[in-house]
Subunit: 300 residues, 2 copies
């Protein structure tokens, strides 16, 4: 099961108590961090996020509101005695900056930092239970979205099946993986008679900062939860385009065309104090839309 | 009149809602910023600090909890349309880092950034009404304290003086500066007969991160308000020394020996949730001690 916890949902300049972009993706006992705006580590403290469970950090692009909190987070992990490595996936110019920051601020970290520069749309993490892909978005500088896909889940033992009595407990893990069972007399118990389908694999796409761009669709089609930026209301679509951002209705149109199950909008411009209109506008096109609100965990 | 507003009073890692070091020094209509830990710009929002009045920023040293918020603040000033220059006084290695951060995060700032590397104890700002001096402190890396000294204040017109009737209003500004008045017949009206002393010039010393160090005394003697770090309680004095920090009682002893009028202690270790004991211990040696609490302005 995937859960998305919003740590920051504002664009550019912090305002009205809203923080710059950062999201925690919870998958089983692992946490993944997408973007790390200033103050992300304080937000983790506030919302009781266990930082030591974060092993993979994804930075969409190098505008400050998406990464100025990264060095502070790494520094605090270090001061708290972290030893396990961190894997960072980000545009290449971040690497020499992190190295310089570590060098002048008290020496190397006590843990290994593996840096993977993003170069093309591809699978960047292949974990036991989840895989992560990156894909380019259209912004004023190099910018990347991320797709989290749960792998095929195990079948579940059907405890109502009478045939189970002939199968030893030790074989159940193979049943969960789909194997048939062959008895000593050579008779086969087909898997489907003793198991049922596992839960459907879930998926989450984070579309970073982007213009309205239908080229995104091939990467995010039929995603369970789609995060798409909506920096401005619809009336500001010219300004949005000029700044390589999207509006509420553009985000909702992408969700609709991608046949996403649910849409989350965020990256609200600092000029807006109230957000009601963001939700109303997006829902005229894509009803199953939610606002990305700080401290809320959106589960699938 | 000087006012010191605390934006952050914690050391190393943010904890218990406390932020890393940052202080606003208010002097007449000017704001000065000392240190800029992560989240300082959000704290300025919360406490209604007018960022555009900050022209001078002083960074004591390059441990992250004293400067990781600087690039975010500069970036926000830029996005908000700032044009007037900023003057930064800091250890030299900060300059190339700021340049690299600006370069990879969207290009140069829209205002000029004057950088002054700190090299020795000297006067670094000589303003109309205030001067600022830096002095070295003893920490694990290059580290600087700052002394703010109000210049001699103007004398005030004594409206009860009968001699005033012979002096034209246009001359009052010279009276305030201490001049005598010579009448047309050559008779002199001595300044002290028509004016009274102005308010006493105030001073504030920020002692950054430091070991207990009596060499500080020559720089801070008889200061009106002394900020001295007290990272640990007295029982931790060995740990304090090992980490180039001070305890409550060491801070209070420095205040006493410097004949400071008032002491402010801060930079509390992340291990302490409650701070009562910090105040109690310091007051056993220097009664006029206050805790540096976030959002509070200490006035002189």
């Amino acid at each position: 099961m995937l859960g998305i916890t919003i740590l920051g949902s504002n664009s550019a300049v912090p305002s009205f108590g809203r923080h710059p972009t950062a999201q925690i993706i919870t998958f089983r006992d692992q946490l993944f961090l997408i973007d790390c705006g200033e103050g992300a580590q304080m937000q983790m403290n506030q919302y009781k996020i266990r930082k030591n469970r974060i092993n993979h950090i994804f930075i969409s692009h190098l505008h400050g509101d998406h990464y100025f909190g990264l060095i502070g987070l790494l520094s605090s992990m270090n001061l708290l005695g972290r030893e396990q490595p961190i894997h960072i996936y980000a545009p290449a110019p971040l690497q020499p900056l992190l190295e310089l920051q570590c060098k002048i601020s008290g020496g190397p970290l006590g843990f290994t930092l593996h840096f993977y520069p993003l170069t093309k749309a591809e699978k960047i993490v292949d974990d036991k239970h989840v895989e992560v892909h990156c894909f380019p978005t259209k912004h004023s500088i190099e910018c990347w979205g991320f797709l989290f896909k749960e792998k095929k889940t195990n079948r579940r033992i059907n405890n109502n099946s009478i045939a189970l009595k002939d199968i030893p407990l030790e074989f159940y893990k193979y049943l969960q993986q789909g194997d048939d069972y062959t008895k000593e007399d050579g008779a086969v118990i087909p898997n489907h008679t003793v198991t049922i389908e596992g839960t459907s694999p879930q998926s989450y796409a984070f579309c970073a900062d982007t213009l309205y761009d239908e080229e995104l669709l091939s990467h995010i089609t039929q995603v369970n939860l789609l995060y798409h930026e909506a920096t401005y209301l619809d009336e500001m679509h010219d300004k949005a385009a000029g700044r390589f951002h999207s509006t509420t209705k553009q985000a909702a149109t992408i969700a609709q065309k991608a046949q996403a199950k649910r849409l989350l909008i965020g990256h609200f411009s600092s000029k807006y104090e109230k957000l009601d209109a963001f939700l109303e506008e997006a829902q005229t096109i894509f009803p199953n839309t939610s606002l990305a609100l700080e401290g809320i965990t959106y589960r699938m």
